[in-house]
Symmetry: C2
């Protein structure tokens, strides 16, 4: 675009922006939350037991005990995570809590033979963070005082050359955060070669290195023929690196976001060592709610068919986002974006230095976006260009309207920046 | 008793013991768990919502958010704990988890203005433990590496002279564990003077001192006209020591032991500081289960009437324990014991040095008792005489049978020890 075209664009977008600002909108694309009609799909969860609180092995789920959860819930977790039943724990309502406690245990208490990271001779521990990534992973490290090191995300998953080089060169790198399927926020699915390299990674790293495999979107496909994530646990077993793999997942975006069941999988010694710590923190998870979930999903078939109903609700919202991006930004060079086949997010990269400004402009027009930098450790996006869009929670019409505003903000900010650069 | 009488007793008890051993019993008085018929009282919990998941302020309890819990659950907690609604959090299924995380936060992370205990200039932190006490409190301190200091329990609560002297003399004492009503295991209720002295305690102690007030048995009365526990929060407010009081409780032994709702109360700044930590650990508690509980117990009247039905089930078991103790040990000088008016335990003190032996004898006869020392920090009963009996879980007939065995074991061990001492 020449300067004249840019000036015309700036005028047009500024005028539209002013109109949006006057319209008194109150829209929100920040929240990776299911919409009410998605939650309705599981509204029979309360009452699912019909008075029978016994698990299949006769356990009275109403009483104390059983740190690892009931067997039918663990079986569901095993299928969800792709891990052997014997190595799966079914927990409470939050996989985030399991992740926090696992990292904290490794850092402050030690896991079995492995002493605490904080006492390690290799120095203060570091954790690799593929970026952009999930802010709550970063918040765990930040609160525990664990240094985070960025590695780039590619369309195939983390840049494995960078990951392997990092763990080889620096023994103080103790773990890596991963969302391997429909990664938050780019939506990419780690490809087979990437997962295979992950299976070998603990061999390149210092002893006690952990892959924190947060498979939050394991079954959250938008398409009937979804991409396949290779099974890291089998590959790691073959490679003899099982102790280096810790998996997490939950039904938070399957049944109820606040009242689902979380899962975790790890090798027998690692899970056992973690349970040593957990045993002082709690007597056991809510087994009644685990049993409800097992009733709802007696097998993966039932779960998969349930997830297709989720997809029917949210797929049009993701399509609306893509249509708006395509119609408003394709060919402009103002932004690139991802086309996720599942999960909860779309990731947009503006021109360098414009994310904060776009988010500010959108806020002025009544459209809340995830704060700039949120997808990076310490809230610092080094190029200030990544914006995470979360289209599931608002009604479809709101998603469309919010995207109109957003696209116009990107165009406006880009036109202004380009003009300034040319002058 | 003279030597001859003791010898006769020893012979009689040894013979009975041998018969018990041959009977192949498998009885268990170890577990502070509700019996199945107690759990049945709340069997309508699953399904209580009848499809309506909205809390009274319109919150969709199925979705993410709300670290402090929903208002109707918090109101229930406020009534249960005797604390202002604004200072009450409703949590997940475990008050133990809240206690662990609170103590850990104070010790490793710091709470608001108060730096972490571990960094304190006063030296390595210590926590006062009235003994005998609750093993899971001690396990928290042990896992966190916090030194425990015993103080004696009296019939009126902890020996407050000893408690006050300890906190006055030693600024490294940072907290005290309390079960103020139907204390585990003695069953005593702290009297009014004791609670009043607790309200003043933080003034005598170093800054940041916390009273960990685990009111686990707040509504677990066995009698229609139960003893009253003075309201520590009001007294502390008057004394200006509110920041020093942290209360915990739950519905674990009200509804379901594994699937109830936990509560916590603290001053506004202390609760706020704790939530800072909690916010990295979880998005929020299971609000759906909170709403179920609020439906079951719309007010304290409903809760109290529910607890009377619990009492009707377990009071005969407590009576059977008292009858057996009375019939078998009164006037022998072989033991003293408590007569709790609520809670879950009876505490027996044998002659010094005999608890371990009595428990061993009972095990040989097929009666499991709580391991010796469990009611003391580090599992060390300095006089080896305290035994905790938990009569709620087994059927009444089993409680009676187990008590026959137990009484005979106390008599046998006492006769033998007395003979040895006389010889």
């Amino acid at each position: 675009m020449n300067a004249e075209a840019l000036r015309a664009l700036e005028v047009e977008c500024a005028q539209r922006h002013a109109e949006f600002c006057k319209a008194g909108l109150a829209l929100d694309l920040t929240r990776g939350k299911p919409a009410a009609d998605q939650l309705d799909l599981a509204s029979h969860l309360d009452g699912a037991l019909q008075g029978d609180y016994r698990s299949e092995d006769g356990t009275d789920t109403r009483n104390y005990g059983g740190l690892r959860g009931i067997v039918e819930a663990r079986r569901l977790g095993a299928a969800l995570l792709g891990a052997p039943l014997a190595q799966v724990m079914a927990g409470g309502n939050s996989s985030l809590t399991l992740m926090y406690l696992f990292v904290e245990t490794a850092h402050l208490f030690g896991l079995g033979d492995q002493g605490p990271w904080r006492d390690d001779a290799a120095g203060a521990p570091k954790v690799l963070c593929p970026v952009p990534g999930y802010d709550r992973h970063f918040a765990i490290c930040e609160q525990l005082g664990i240094e985070m090191v960025n590695v780039p995300m590619l369309a195939t998953g983390p840049d494995m050359d960078a990951v392997e080089a990092a763990v080889r060169d620096d023994p103080s790198i103790r773990a890596i955060w991963c969302v391997p399927k429909y990664s938050n926020p780019t939506g990419c699915v780690y490809d087979e070669a990437t997962v295979a390299r992950f299976a070998g990674l603990p061999k390149l790293a210092a002893p006690g290195f952990r892959i924190l495999w947060d498979n939050a979107y394991a079954v959250h496909d938008l398409e009937p023929d979804p991409p396949h994530l290779a099974e890291l646990f089998s590959l790691a077993k073959q490679a003899g690196t099982e102790d280096g793999v810790v998996m997490f997942g939950s039904t938070s975006k399957v049944t109820f976001a606040g009242a689902g069941v979380a899962f975790m999988a790890a090798s027998t010694p690692v899970l056992g060592a973690f349970e040593q710590r957990l045993g002082a923190l709690m007597i056991g998870p809510d087994k009644v709610n685990q049993l409800r979930h097992a009733k709802l999903f007696p097998d993966m078939e039932a779960l998969t068919s349930h997830m297709r109903r989720h997809a029917a609700i949210i797929q049009p919202k993701f399509e609306a986002v893509q249509e708006a991006l395509e119609a408003g930004l394709a060919g402009t060079g103002f932004a690139t974006w991802t086309r996720p086949r599942g999960g909860y997010f779309v990731s947009v990269d503006t021109l360098p230095g414009l994310a904060r400004e776009v988010i500010r402009l959108a806020a002025d027009a009544g459209v809340k976006l995830t704060p700039a930098g949120a997808t990076f450790p310490y809230g610092r996006d080094p190029e200030d260009r990544n914006i995470r869009l979360a289209p599931t929670f608002p009604p479809l019409a709101d998603v469309r309207r919010a995207m109109e505003v957003f696209i116009n903000c990107v165009r406006l900010a880009s036109a202004r920046a380009s003009l300034q650069e040319n002058s």
